[in-house]
């Protein structure tokens, strides 16, 4: 019944998101949008299931350790598995982190049959997974990727013999198609098994269910929905060049770097890849080394890479301490993160901030002088104090608005916000007419009207004041709990300040300069 003579092997590493997070040995679950996307075997034994709400999962297993989904980390960790598979055959296709497939005909012939190849592969991968403390992988082989995927989900995996894929599929329920809406409809029509669905006429299916139905019908008949798109595993993404004689001129190094960068780009381009994170390493004749990661919000061009090398070396050579004592003998570029190259697309309305090239180059130069985290932008955050309402985000890191920005913050002062917020509050004392320190009662009232602000060298009369605004923050958290009260004061010299009382001491938290 197959249209082409092909066999597919699928490797499935169960619970991959949990394994990638390094939590496969303890009851744990990975959460996305408040739903469980994966859980460890011990959590499953306690009743945690996929698609559960976070609260349900926590009530099923009280010591459940929850982590947020981190697809990038999953892919990075899965790279180990993929490279182990690529030792056997270069034609690996990653379906998603935790699952990859390969055409098995060639390697099976080489390793003496599908079963012996699958055993060898499982042996190597299970050793690797044991290091990562994950459960053993499962391998399924069938005529089509779809069937092989289902075969891999059978406990301990299964090898479906060539030509019998449709028969093997026939007994499975229609929900195995992975199309819940279609499956529900089919069940209501009295079609419960894939075999029954496969017996329908293709034209009838197309007329009733459209193209998605036809695709599902092909899968159910043991046919391919698409040819396996093959790609070679990414080549070694590090390019290094030794310099014959040590170089102490940045321009000369930059000239060498041009060649390296073009070579690196040349390795990425055939795979349709682009690099967004770059490691620049340089070492000198005396063995001093400098390496720094560079990240860009757009893929690096060869020229941008050279600029990074130049800026980094300029920064290094001009460093007051730890400047290199000899010429540079080695320059190495490594692509740290590769993404499919979608071409360069400028953000339009509401899109992410795309700095124009001028801004980006200026930023990169400052990063070369002062370090990666020295330049950034701010995002608004929730919080009551004037210094808590914004968060500094280094350039290149994702600019995400934290949770709770739009929530009401009782105890936050209304506009205007103070223009000067010292990094450390200045300690002062605030006293009433008789010289007694102003306190704030449990009901949020001042004990006496403030009259004088004493700042060590002198004192000033308070001509206006408002408040206090009490803030009892994080009372549920014994370490983070803070009780504060804020007071707006206007002094006789016309300056206005925001005072804060914490632990019986007043401080100038901000100034309305």
């Amino acid at each position: 019944m197959t249209e082409r003579e092909s066999r597919t092997l699928v490797v499935w590493c169960p619970d991959w998101p949990v394994v990638a997070a390094g939590l496969a040995q303890v009851p744990s679950a990975v959460i996305r949008a408040n739903r469980v996307v994966a859980c460890s075997p011990s959590a499953r034994a306690e009743g945690v299931r996929r698609h559960q709400r976070r609260r349900e999962a926590e009530s099923a297993c009280p010591d459940l350790k929850l982590v947020k989904e981190d697809p990038a980390q999953e892919v990075r960790a899965f790279e180990h598995v993929v490279s182990a598979v690529a030792q056997f055959t270069p034609r690996v296709e990653v379906t998603r982190p935790g699952m990859c497939s390969l055409p098995v005909r060639g390697p099976a012939r080489y390793f003496g049959g599908e079963r012996s190849f699958a055993n060898r592969l499982a042996h190597v991968l299970n050793d690797l997974l044991q290091e990562l403390r994950g459960p053993p992988c499962r391998i399924g082989i069938a005529d089509t990727p779809f069937a092989a995927r289902l075969a891999a989900h059978v406990p301990s995996g299964e090898i479906v013999l060539a030509g019998s894929t449709a028969a093997w599929l026939a007994d499975l329920p229609v929900s195995a198609l992975g199309e819940p809406e279609l499956a529900e409809l089919l069940v209501r029509l009295g079609i419960r098994r894939l075999g029954e669905f496969a017996e329908l006429d293709e034209g009838v299916v197309a007329g009733r269910f459209g193209s998605r139905g036809v695709r599902a019908h092909r899968l159910a008949r043991g046919l391919d929905d698409h040819a396996l798109a093959l790609c070679e595993p990414p080549p070694d993404l590090t390019v290094a060049r030794e310099l014959d004689s040590p170089v102490d001129q940045v321009d000369t190094v930059a000239f060498v770097a041009t060649g390296i960068a073009e070579e690196l780009i040349g390795r990425l381009v055939p795979g349709g890849l682009a690099c967004t994170r770059l490691l620049v390493e340089a070492s000198t004749e005396h063995g001093e080394e400098l390496s720094r990661w560079w990240r860009a919000d757009r893929p690096f061009t060869a020229r941008a890479m050279v600029d990074r090398v130049r800026w980094q070396l300029e920064g290094w050579l001009a460093a007051p301490v730890d400047a290199p004592s000899a010429g540079i003998t080695l320059v190495r570029l490594t692509a740290g993160e590769v993404v499919p190259d979608k071409g360069r697309q400028l953000g339009l309305f509401g899109g992410p901030v795309e700095a124009d090239q001028r801004v980006e180059r200026g930023i990169a130069r400052i990063q070369g002088l002062l370090g990666h985290a020295a330049v950034g932008t701010a995002v608004l955050a929730g919080g009551r104090g004037p210094g808590e309402q914004t968060i500094f985000v280094p350039w290149g890191d994702p600019r995400e608005e934290p949770e709770g920005v739009r929530h009401p913050w009782p105890g936050r002062l209304p506009a205007p916000a103070p223009a000067v917020v010292p990094v450390v509050p200045v300690v002062v004392s605030l006293v009433g007419r008789a010289g007694e320190t102003v306190g704030v009662t449990g009901r949020g009232q001042c004990t006496v009207a403030p009259e004088w602000l004493l700042e060590p060298p002198g004192r000033q009369r308070v001509v206006g004041w408002a408040g206090p605004w009490p803030a009892d923050e994080r009372w549920w958290d014994p370490t983070g709990h803070r009780r504060r009260a804020r007071l707006q004061v206007l002094l006789e010299d016309g300056s206005a300040h925001l005072l804060v009382l914490e632990g019986g001491r007043w401080g100038i938290e901000a100034t309305y300069d």
Partner: protein, 237 residues
């Protein structure tokens, strides 16, 4: 006037034929374009190089805008308010979509900046200017990158550094906003804005809230601003 200039150019006599007419017309068009180009580039007025400012500030500044390439020093004399005035200056260009930067001023209240209308996504922050020998390089890089640069010069700023930075800003067409709270900027300035009086309204003893602010700002400098001028400025919350 442009055309007279063109007609004075010697015309080579050629025997009449259609191709010659075409080539002559083409030649003339090129000359006109050249002449126009020359005129146009020499006729960039100061007002064409202005960055927009907020309505409140337009009445205070001599050209009702911030001139590209200029150095503007903001300070306060025997009162406070220099920081708020600088934020107000930064707000106009940011609202109009230009990029800004704040350097060497970690204590700047960014919530206040956002309130004034400054887009935090287009405001680069360099909290620390770095070691003594590098701060000028960092500021110069910012002139290359963005349109308005606000910074607090380190206490030991030398006149030579200040002069060089002013020249660099002029060269790159960036506005250099120097927040000079201690009044010791040793370099040249095209405009010096000094808060001479500042008054808050809205707060009394035990009630009310800081709401409106009345400034008196003295603007002095070169050219149109050579004669110092005092004007009122009102900033509301």
């Amino acid at each position: 006037m442009i055309l007279t200039h063109v007609s004075r150019r010697p015309i080579r006599r050629r025997p009449f034929c259609f191709a010659n007419v075409c080539s002559y017309t083409q030649e003339m068009a090129v000359t006109v374009a050249e002449a126009l180009h020359g005129r146009a580039s020499s006729l960039v007025l100061a007002k064409d190089r202005l960055l927009p400012v907020t309505v409140a500030l337009a009445a205070v500044l001599p050209f009702a805008g911030l001139e590209r390439g200029s150095t503007v020093v903001v300070d306060a004399h025997e009162t406070c308010g220099a920081t708020s005035l600088t934020l107000e200056m930064l707000a106009g260009p940011s609202i109009a979509g230009y990029w800004g930067a704040v350097a060497g001023c970690p204590e700047l209240g960014l919530a206040a900046a956002a309130e004034r209308g400054i887009d935090l996504a287009r405001l680069l922050l360099v909290p620390s200017l770095g070691p003594q020998d590098r701060w000028a390089q960092v500021v110069a890089s910012l002139f290359d990158a963005v349109d308005t640069v606000l910074y607090v010069p380190p206490p030991s700023v030398r006149p030579s550094d200040a002069r060089r930075l002013a020249a660099r800003a002029r060269d790159r067409g960036a506005v250099q906003l120097v927040l000079d709270r201690d009044r010791r900027w040793p370099g040249p300035s095209d405009l010096r804005c000094t808060v001479t009086e500042s008054q808050w309204t809205g707060l009394s003893r035990g009630h009310g809230l800081l709401s409106e602010r009345h400034f008196e700002v003295e603007v002095s400098g070169r050219g149109a601003a050579a004669r110092p001028r005092r004007s009122p400025l009102q900033l509301s919350a």
